[in-house]
Amino acid sequence: MLTQAFSEAFSLIASANPDLYEILWLSVKVSLTALLSASILALPLGTILAISEFKGKRAIVTFFTAMMGLPPVVVGLFVYLMLSRSGPLGVLELLYTPAAMIIAQCILIVPIVTSLTHQIIEELNREYRDLFFSLRIDTGRAIFAYLWDARFSLLTTVLAGFGRAISEVGAVMIVGGNINHLTRIMTTAIALETSKGNLALALALGIVLLMIALVVNALVMIVKTFAMDKGYA
């Protein structure tokens, strides 16, 4: 039975099964959008936290670090409560749409990218601080310079965020609802198809998800090695 499921799974992938590719495409779209929005917020935020001094900064950094370990299901529940008909953002009617899933994934990634960015830039700041002060670099230019000079470390951070987003199941299940052709993505589809006994599709999706995870991790390694070779690490 297992071998049969595997061979069916591979033929689904090889024959470019439309259901499978629809699900894959939506997954990638949702997670990339979440990653992009999260990065636009978290990269500058992490940098500002790393290079500025103000009261309460430690507390904010600790908050984001603690949020890295948020249970996805709880995030899902929180976003559900916000977006549900009677919730504060109910009028937007976003529940059970891809937008809701993007919001949930975004909330999951922002603390990761913020926290890791803070760590990376704080270390760089120890090295650059006196130079930037001496050169009278203003804050705006410093932020861009830090982001640029940490580009390779930050890229690996962002890739890690993408890995977390695309492999997450609990939060998107709650706020997306796993609706066929609308909010069904790889992880929720795998959960559903497995429970239905449709092992071939579940396996095919599982293999694709695994490949994505492997590619992301391989990219992280390649980027790291390249940066080391160039003295940019």
Binding site: E127, L135, R136, W148
Partner: protein, 233 residues
């Protein structure tokens, strides 16, 4: 017109955790030539330079350059740090980043030639050798066209060729009206470059003499011992 000194330090103290790292330093220096700062490790040479450059705020006392109080780094000074700080970019981009706005590529390329780095311009700066890194840091400072150049052991542990290039750049700078403050442990170098010597010991200026006089007949017993290669306690 009275000859106002370029640098005027009055009763400067730097106290950290109840210890005076710099203790009642008063000195003035005329607006040309190379003033060498000498003294054993831990004497406070780097701290004095950072106060002069405006990177560290003294606990008491004042620093004036060109008759103005130093409250932070200004455009009439440039500093090279004891360990060169180079951006994670190529050699050319390192200069471009620090150069005054509007500096063109020709000027930057000329600066690179003066440091014998023209053929390295596209290399990642952090892959350069120690000597090349210090030369790059020095031309980066010179590119800012300072009146006062503050150098913290720029030739420590460099090969003779790099030392010669660096000394040539400094001589050229002073011949064109620039003033240099230079920390060095190299007595030969101090004799070659220095017009006057400040000798620091345990955070105090124990001697400030003309170079000719300092090396023949130092006034303080600390300087005598230092020049004789003895450990001073």
């Amino acid at each position: 017109m009275p000859d106002t000194p370029l640098i005027e330090i009055t009763n400067l103290c730097l106290r950290v955790n109840n210890t005076d790292l710099l203790d009642s330093i008063s000195m003035s220096s005329k607006d040309c030539g190379v003033t060498m700062v000498m003294g054993p490790n831990g004497a406070g040479k780097s701290l004095l330079l950072k106060c002069l450059h405006g990177l560290i705020k003294p606990t008491f006392g004042s620093v004036k350059v060109s008759g103005e109080y130093v409250l932070g780094p200004s455009t009439n000074q440039a500093m090279v740090f004891q360990t060169p700080v180079l951006l994670r970019r190529n050699v050319f981009a390192n200069l471009k980043f620090a150069a005054p706005p509007g500096t063109n590529a020709v000027t930057i390329n000329n600066a690179l030639s003066t440091a014998h780095l023209a053929d390295k311009k596209d290399l990642p700066a952090r892959l350069l050798s120690g000597g090349e890194q210090q030369r790059l840091a020095l031309v980066r400072a010179l590119l800012r066209k300072p009146k006062l150049l503050v150098l913290d052991e720029p030739t420590a542990s460099l090969d003779p060729a790099s030392i010669q290039i660096i000394e040539g750049l400094i001589q050229d700078f002073t011949e064109h009206g620039g003033k240099t403050i230079f920390v060095s442990h190299d007595i030969g170098q101090a004799k070659r470059l220095g017009s006057d010597i400040i000798f620091l010991h345990k955070g105090r200026v124990v001697e400030h003499s003309d170079a000719a006089r300092f090396f023949i007949n130092p006034k303080s017993k600390e300087a005598k011992a230092y020049l004789n290669g003895q450990l001073i306690v």
